[in-house]
Symmetry: C2
Subunit: 629 residues, 2 copies
């Protein structure tokens, strides 16, 4: 019998309808790979036909990279107390390089397990943790370097392609596949993402697949500049009390709007139990900053931190299934004075904790001195490194300074060390950077860290807009993604001011989905423009519902439209509230277009045969269609 | 006796408190120039002292470029029925090159004047219009080319400098004046904006001062890439009825949040009367698209438009005081077929009207064929050209295509023609452009249009986010401003969906103020970073109130903060809701900073004397201060 109180069960077992209802005119489809248990989810958006004088023209469905997990699949019964299905379970087991442990091997994990007072908070079906067998290395990088294509890699290839090859072979998509050649600043984006390409990128360290063997519920995804730009979201409360159910709901909410990964940054109490609930129900990789929890264990006294406490925390979290750890191992003792003349000093929480520890002990950071031992832990569970930028700038004035770049070089040194262990690594980046200094960050990271994937917070391109920092940072994010950053860590409107609520989280994610998509368009990632084209075609053809449904936030698009034109009839009207029925450029242009179609004049022909002559002809006949306007 | 109904008077005479109350801890100050009637407004934000162990450190006031007009000056009594004070009246009169007319010389202007049914809508104190004396040219460009520095030019120099020279001479600002060197892509931004520099830029056509002689209420401002990046806002309703008072309130609202210029895009009825109310109360330049009103005059039938109707409209509006006209004179007959293969054809209203007219008449646009006559009108009132981009792309797919760039070349040709008349010109630009194709737009504009100021709408860097197009376009705007665009036309969240309400307008403007400021930081405009530095210093020192007051939107910053920490005491607390009292990187860093100050270690010294040695010493003593944490 579970000791969870009734109201807790009710709440957590029933997510709000907000976070689970399917998107309008969308259905969940799966592409099955080389094995039956490899099913890659996609969102298929149905579109309505275009009505022309010649009759109906069908508009093919549009596929959207789907981060929302099983929550938007009506076929799946969601029960948070059971957790999600273990989609990777067979793959992990078949590799036969891991063993099931009797229970948690971390001291803290055992303590929490044995504490009867926590029974009412505890996830009910805690699995035995899994760990690499002695002498084995279970990282995706290790497999990749041995030439093995894992099911995770195949899954990712299918997911990244998003049916592009099928669309290329389907004439209905011909118009929609039009795309500008990109400018990728030396990235190596192929026309098709093959499983072998995934393997190769992981093997050389240019991409990572955060996928702890204790997180079999995970739908695999990849972070690398030659793949789609990803968005990380954050949850987690601080001193203020926050309930487990709230955090789980936030996680599902993040997934819904397009969060590719999620960091649990909790610093409150019961974070061990909260994490378990989140992991068992998370379809995306989960990251943490273990030093936060370690600090809780020493009652917030940075100087009381020890390697042993930190080590135990890593194992505790790795055995729960955390997929990546932010570790600020680049904050070296000698870099601390470099921050003394800064306008805002050290703004990273992890960075300031480690700076404090280093100063208090007159010695080098234990994260740095014990780095090899950390790698041993990481590779036993396949936890990826997210090497933290503890000395990132906290304001425009401090951008790209000596402290920041000194740390970056050390992160490069640590990357090589991690790679010697076949550990997966990404590098965290700033922060606050004026627009013209953003590119230097990417260039230095690629050079100093050997193209390990870059993962940046924003950057904010100005400090003067608290309450709008999703926007100040979204500008920087779109640019840094274009230049080669693999994952963008979102920022909400509440940054610098308070804790984000659900609405803030939605605003933050959508802003970052915009930034990531803008980056992919600019880099020229194949197929990215299909959605833009389909939405713009719908707009031009006054297919209002399709315009809403294809957008990043169909609910808000519909709501905004309905504020001025609420009637259902207006959703098929050939005008809108901006210009009114008799004053619409789109409408006029359609007349021109229809006329051109009748003539059989294509743009190329007009150019070929001499613009002037053709224009006259075009206009000669064109006049007719305007007589009755 | 006025026939305005009582409720109308009450509403228009009393703007809502929302739009007029002064900003918190701010006062209106004026810098007086070389003559008593040349008083340049600035907003002065008072800052609270920093409390250190050594005692109080005073923080000097920060000056903010102030677009809000007399509305935020408690010394000024606002009466919309009287209109604003005529700050430029003497300057215009003294030049003695204009004459007062008996009344409107346009046919339509007289009609409206004589229509008794409009009495209740009419502004009560319509002045006699003013026009250049026969043979005179009254444009600021004409004066500039004759070597004359007008009061408008001096006003602008003071305004753009924003007390930078005074700050440079004041040791209290030493820390705050720190600024990154910019990357301006060949702009010629001086260290100090002198009146002579203003004159020179206007003379060579690189900047314009939109300032109709019939708009003496105007607070002069400049648009050019070597000055601060400006933001244009739009108001105006379409078929739906909108009241005059709403439009006037919107104009003041725009000014409040930082709109530098405003376009009245109304297409409804009574736009003549609405425009009068707006102009008489507008401290910023007002722009229009005269073809909209001309189209109303022919009941929406584009093919019925004539040069005569258009010409009359230009004169009507010029005599009211409109400062710049969007004229789509580059939409040539032969370019229309170039849009036939586009995904979304012609999306500019003006562009599609002219395309329709050209097709209907088998002939070249009257805007193009009568361009010299248009120039004659423009220079008689000093109305600036905003040469419209009627063929701008309406979606990502159509960006940077043959139609768009063909039109741009024609705009260059027209620029030279206008300059032969000493008419001021800016060039409108797109639209929808992927991030990597934004720069090409600026480069082509600068080359094809001889560095005439560029004025762009966004651009939106993706089409997939209706309801968030302030953000999709804000990303493009920050970039295009950085590359050299002089003014950014704002986009609200309702773009593509409906008419913006007050909240949407605020969101749109703040987003564009962010973009413009980010551009200025990136270009390295002198003094731009002072506000970032002051705000970040306040943040670092937990001066919450200063942080709010220095931000672009103090109200919302305060409101967001108060959602999680409403108590007054928290506004001086040395922590916030994000990390809580015992977990604050800013706090830890301050300890480090204070310690360093005691040691007398500067960053440079640390570097000079060898980082390692100094670090050890730094840390040796540093340990002490952490004992009691």
């Amino acid at each position: 019998m579970s000791a969870i109180p009734e109201d807790f069960i009710q709440k957590t077992a029933q997510l709000s309808d907000d976070v689970t209802r399917p998107f309008p005119s969308s259905k969940k489809t799966y592409v099955t790979g080389s094995r039956e248990d490899l099913r890659v989810p996609m969102r298929e958006v149905e579109c309505t036909p275009t009505h022309t004088e010649q009759g109906e023209e069908l508009n093919p469905p549009i596929y959207i990279y789907d981060t929302s997990g099983p929550y938007t699949d009506p076929q799946v019964t969601i029960d948070l107390r059971q957790g999600l299905a273990e989609v990777r379970a067979n793959w992990i087991a078949e590799r036969d390089d891991t063993e099931l442990l009797d229970g948690p091997t971390s001291e803290y994990g055992r303590q929490r397990q044995d504490d009867p007072e926590l029974a009412h908070l505890r996830f009910e079906h805690i699995r035995q943790p899994r760990r690499a067998k002695a002498g084995k290395n279970v990282t995706q990088m290790h497999y990749a370097r041995q030439g093995i294509i894992t099911p995770e890699m195949e899954y990712i290839a299918i997911r990244e392609n998003n049916k592009l090859q099928e669309m290329r072979g389907d004439p209905r998509y011909a118009k929609l596949l039009r795309q500008h050649a990109g400018e990728s600043f030396g990235a190596s984006i192929p026309e098709e993402i093959t499983p072998e390409f995934v393997r190769d990128e992981v093997a050389r360290g240019r991409a990572i697949i955060p996928a702890n063997i204790n997180h079999p519920e995970l739908e695999p995804m990849i972070i690398g500049r030659n793949f789609r730009t990803k968005v990380n979201t954050n949850i987690g409360n601080s001193a203020v009390t926050s309930s487990i159910e709230e955090e789980v709901e936030k996680m599902v909410w993040s997934a819904r709007w397009g969060g590719d990964t999620l960091m649990d940054l909790s610093t409150g109490k019961n974070i061990h139990e909260t994490r378990e609930w989140i992991l068992r129900n998370a379809p995306m990789p989960i990251g943490t900053v273990p030093i936060y929890q370690a600090l809780e264990k020493v009652d917030g006294k940075a100087e009381d931190l020890t390697w042993e406490i930190f080590r135990d925390t890593l194992i505790e979290q790795a055995e729960q299934g955390v997929d990546y750890f932010t570790i600020h191992a680049g904050v070296l003792l000698r870099y601390v004075p470099l921050t003394a003349e800064r306008l805002t000093g050290i703004v990273s929480r992890g960075g300031s904790i480690m700076a404090k520890w280093c100063l208090a002990h007159h010695t080098e950071s234990f994260l740095y001195t014990h780095f090899d031992e950390i790698c041993e832990i990481m590779k036993a569970y396949d936890v990826s490194f997210s090497l933290g930028d503890g000395l990132r700038p906290g304001c425009i004035a401090d951008a790209n300074d000596a402290a920041q770049f000194a740390e970056l070089e050390t992160l490069g040194e640590l990357t090589q060390k991690a790679w010697e262990h076949d550990c997966q690594v990404m590098i965290e980046g700033p922060g606050h950077v004026p627009l013209h200094k953003v590119k230097e960050n990417v260039e230095k990271e690629l050079a100093d860290c050997y193209e390990a994937p870059f993962y940046t917070l924003g950057p904010l391109v100005t400090d003067i807009a608290p309450a709008y920092d999703h926007i100040t940072s979204g500008i920087g994010a779109a640019n840094i993604g274009w230049y080669g950053t693999a994952m963008l860590c979102y920022v909400t409107p509440k940054e610098h001011l308070g804790l984000p609520n659900k609405q803030d989280v939605r605003d933050g994610i959508i802003t970052y989905k915009i930034a990531a998509h803008a980056s992919d368009l600019a880099k020229g990632f194949p197929g990215t423009q299909v959605r833009d084209n389909a939405l713009s075609k719908a707009r031009f053809e006054f297919r209002w519902e399709d315009q809403f449904n294809l957008s990043l936030d169909p609910d808000r698009a519909r709501e905004f439209h309905d504020e001025t034109m609420p009637k259902e009839a207006h959703k098929v009207a050939h005008f809108c509230s901006m210009c009114g029925p008799n004053f619409c450029s789109m409408k006029i242009t359609q007349d021109v277009r229809e006329y051109a179609a009748k003539l059989g004049v294509s743009e190329e022909e007009a150019l070929k045969e001499g613009m002037k002559e053709k224009s006259v002809e075009f206009v000669d006949k064109g006049a007719e269609i305007y007589q009755k306007t």
